[in-house]
Structures are given as structure tokens and as C-alpha cells.
């Protein structure tokens, strides 16, 4: 009787699994097949082997998109962690208004990155944005310059906006990490004669390792699939210069190159798999 009950109860996970299987796992597996075809979304697909993948690596735009995506992800991950950690160190003691400051710094992170991109577009647009007028009134009309016309300045602005928006998120996680370090540990190090800087690198940073790992991995994975902020701020421009792989996938799909766009998705998948596997490896080592 009891074992029968058990066997029925174990299948309570079935509804969740069915939803997940249909709307996530099945398309993921199906995509592998589609990526090997010349399907345009309408007519009968033909098997073309790895042609989509070789076409991808021959396409200068695609290679450039990989570069853009990687630069954006790595620069964002590094800066988000450095800035978030600095914020957390500043906030890691009791002072008046701490609660309010934390809420204000976190606030940008809850807003849609698409909308945030538009807000910065109003501020920064060359020749028309708020900061352009501010600079003009200060007698520095060239301060903003035509940053949208160049790849390097466009990338800097995109990374800046992303870091500005999400530094509060990394800060919260570092704050939690800092607060979990027992103060006796730092006092003991000080008694042993360690200075502030030594204390930071020999005690604080090693104790923060779990928080650092979460932050670095989630930021890299999140930034590798960046979509919203680029769509609203540069639309991938100038030309296709700041186009990310996610945007490329969407545009190829709309361009009726369904087979090819799934192949690009598979390539992005493999790129994302690298940090995922590293994080799984590190978690396993921990336990």
C-alpha cells in the first residue's frame, strides 16, 4: 500500500517536466537537426551537413559578431565585478542612509535593459542628447562627439550602460558575502600584524570566492546572450559593428534563413557552454 503511494507520488514532478520538455528541451534538440538543413521556414528542408557552420565561419559579419559578443561579455564581467566589489566595500559598515543607498544603487537593475538603453540614448545621442546640450552650454561642444559612428566608442558606451545598470546586482551579492565573513577572522589577521591591504588580499578575497564565482559566471553567461540594450542603444550599429550573436540570430531568422540561424544558435550554445562547464567543475570541487 505504502510503496504504491510512493510510486504515484514520485510522478508529481511530471507536469513541470512536460512543460519543460515541450517548450525548452524539444526545441533545443530539434535545433540540432534544423541546423544541418537549408530550411527557410516554409518549404521542405534539405539536409546539407555542416554547410551552415562553414558558411558562418566564412562570413565576416558573423566572425565580427563573435568578437563583439566576447568583448562585451568579458569587459562587462570584469567591470561589473570590480565596480560591484568597490560599491560593496563602501557599503559594508553601518552608517546613516545605508538602506536607502542600497535601494537606490540597486534600482536600475530592476528596469528592462531595453528601456534603460532608450534612457541612455536620450542622454548620449550625438548632436541631440542631453549631455550634448549640457556640454554645449559649458562651451565644450565636442565633448560627446559622434561616438555612435565608431566601433570602439560604441562598445565602450554599451559596456558602460550595462555596468551602470547591473553593478547594484553584483554589489548585493558581494555585500552578502562580506557580511558572512566572521569579524574575528579579520581581527586575528590584524593581531598577527597584517595591514589593511594584506588583510584584503589574504583574508577577504579568499573568503569571497563563492560570491566571486557566482558573480563572474552569471555575468559572463548573461552578457554572452546580450540583446535588449544593444537593440535600443545602437541597434547593432554603426552598420553591423556592435551586433551581438543574439541579434544576428534574430535577423537571420527574420531573413528566412531558419536553418542557418539555428546553426548560429548552436555556435552560441557552444560558446556559452564553456563558462557553464567551468562553473560546474568548480562547484563540484567545492562539494
Amino acid at each position: 500500500m505504502k510503496s504504491k503511494k510512493r510510486s504515484y507520488a514520485q510522478f508529481l514532478s511530471l507536469p513541470a517536466l512536460i512543460i519543460y520538455a515541450i517548450f525548452f528541451v524539444y526545441p533545443l534538440l530539434k535545433g540540432i537537426g534544423t541546423s544541418l538543413t537549408d530550411w527557410d521556414g516554409m518549404s521542405t528542408p534539405h539536409f546539407i551537413g555542416l554547410d551552415n557552420f562553414t558558411a558562418f565561419f566564412k562570413d565576416a559579419r558573423a566572425i565580427h559578431d563573435i568578437k563583439t559578443t566576447l568583448i562585451f561579455a568579458l569587459a562587462s564581467a570584469v567591470l561589473l565585478n570590480v565596480v560591484g566589489l568597490i560599491y560593496a566595500l563602501l557599503m559594508n559598515s553601518d552608517f546613516r542612509g545605508k538602506g536607502i543607498a542600497r535601494v537606490i544603487i540597486y534600482l536600475p537593475a530592476i528596469i528592462s535593459p531595453l528601456i534603460m538603453g532608450y534612457i541612455w540614448y536620450f542622454l548620449l545621442q550625438p548632436g541631440r542628447g542631453y549631455l550634448f546640450y549640457a556640454a554645449k552650454q559649458l562651451g565644450l561642444p565636442d565633448l560627446i562627439g559622434n561616438w555612435m559612428g565608431k566601433y570602439s566608442s560604441s562598445m565602450k558606451v554599451l559596456v558602460f550602460v550595462n555596468v551602470w545598470q547591473f553593478a547594484g546586482m553584483t554589489m548585493i551579492i558581494y555585500l552578502a558575502g562580506l557580511q558572512s565573513i566572521p569579524s574575528e577572522l579579520i581581527e586575528a589577521a590584524k593581531i598577527d600584524g597584517a595591514g589593511n591591504i594584506q588583510c584584503f588580499f589574504k583574508v577577504t578575497i579568499p573568503m569571497l570566492m563563492p560570491a566571486i564565482r557566482i558573480n563572474v559566471i552569471t555575468n559572463i553567461i548573461g552578457s554572452l546572450s546580450v540583446f535588449d540594450v544593444i537593440m535600443s542603444l545602437t541597434e547593432g550599429g554603426p552598420g553591423y559593428a556592435t551586433e551581438s550573436l543574439s541579434i544576428y540570430i534574430m535577423r537571420m531568422c527574420y531573413g528566412s534563413r531558419t536553418g542557418y540561424s539555428t546553426a548560429v544558435a548552436m555556435i552560441l550554445f557552444i560558446i556559452i557552454l564553456i563558462p557553464v562547464l567551468i562553473s560546474m567543475r568548480l562547484t563540484r570541487q567545492k562539494s
Partner: protein, 276 residues
Amino acid sequence: MKEKTSLKIARGILVLLICIMCLVPFYILVVLALNSPSRVFYEGNLFRPDFFWGNFKTAWEKSKIGTAMINSAIITAGTLILTIVTGGLAGYAIARHGTKYNKFSFGIFIGCMMIPGIINTVPLYTLMRRINAVNTLWGMIMVCSALAMPSAVFIFTTFIKALPRELDDAAAIDGCNSVQIFWQIVFPIIKPATASFIILNGFGIWNNYAQAVFFLQSRKKHNIPQALSVFFQQFAGAKWHLMAATAIIAIIPVIVVFLVFQRQFIKGLSEGAIKG
């Protein structure tokens, strides 16, 4: 450990500057939204708006942002309810019955947890078209639920594993079946798990754009980001006062919810970070 006063002041100034940096873009957005339509971009005073409130009325009417808000609310509520109920049941089954089948399903959820939605969006689009789910709110709810499901299953499994089994056994002796045990005994106890799931996923579902751009193309079914981007493209960069007013209308609900629940929110995020 007493800090020097000069250090305290320096820190205070830095924190203040960071806060200002975080708020200034919002203030500029407000200034822009209150500019009179005749003003050319930012000619004139940069800090004092014209207080032209009519922009909000025009923006509301032209952008159809009200419909988009209702759609976003339905999608977010529907997704959260569906994932909490099914993900909670799954977490219960996995935590309490470590059978091969459940180990396998947990492995699938965790294994795919970090794969972002864009990877399978194109094949998913084909599937959605075949089952007539494109441009429907229920279709978008299913897509968002699938994306949030691993997080739900992971959080509920972890929380339920920490509960004593005696709880279930006592209820079973009283004649409850498994669904009743979950719903009447376990679910009320794991409210913190539900709260942290909502905190970690709610805003992301509300703000979803990468999927909405594929699955919510018809104007009546737009969610907020999709409605905003279409509205902005329509003006091709002109009429900033209307665009800014629409953006403000769009972000007000999110900011209100965040400010009301900020205490639970930041606590939930911090706890999630330590557990992870």
C-alpha cells in the same frame, strides 16, 4: 574597530556620488517627459522642466501602453502561478522521492538551467506556429514558464529537502494524499522559497524582450518592452517628449513594486547568494 572621521566623510561623499549617478538618468527622463512639444530637444534650461503634463495623456493614448501593461501583468502572473504550482510539486517529488526517474528529471532541469532562451528560440518559433501559440498570451506564458522552471524546481527542491520528513508522515497518518500534503502542509511552510523565486524571476518575466520580439508581434498582444520598441521605431527618433513619457509610464509599476517590497527583495537576493 573605529573608523577615522575623515574616512567616514570621504565614504559618505562617495556613496552620495554613486547614488546621484544612479538617479540622474531618471531625473533627465522626467525633464524630457515634461518638455513642451515645441521645445527642440534640450535647447534652453537643462534642469527645469516645462511641466507640460499633457505629454503623458498623448503618450498613453498613442502608445497603447495600457494594453501592453495588462498583457505584461497577465503574462507575469500566469507564468509565476504556473511555475510555482508545477515547480513546487516537482520540488516536493524530487526532495521526497529520490527515485531514478526523479534524479533524471532533476538532472535535466539543472543541466539546462544556465542555457539562455535565445539558443532555442528559432526552433521554438516553428513549434509555436504549428500549435497556433504565436501572438497569444498563453503561448508566451508557456515560453516564460519553461525558461523559469529550472529556477523554481531548484529553489523548491532545496527548501523542501531541509524540512523534516516527520511532517509528511504525520499528515499521511491523518489520511492526506501526496498532493494534499504538499498543498496543505509543505507549501504554506515554504513561503520564503516562493518569495525568493518570485524575487529572482518576476522582473525578468515582466521585462522580457528577447522572446517577446518573436512571440508577441501582433499589436494587441505586445508586452511592455515590445510595445515600447515598436512605438519608438515608429517615431524614428523624433518626439522625444512622448517617448520619454511612455518610458516613465512603463517603468512606474516596476519601481512601485520594488519600493514596496525592497526590504524582502534585498534580503531574498542576499540569502539566495549565500545559499548558491
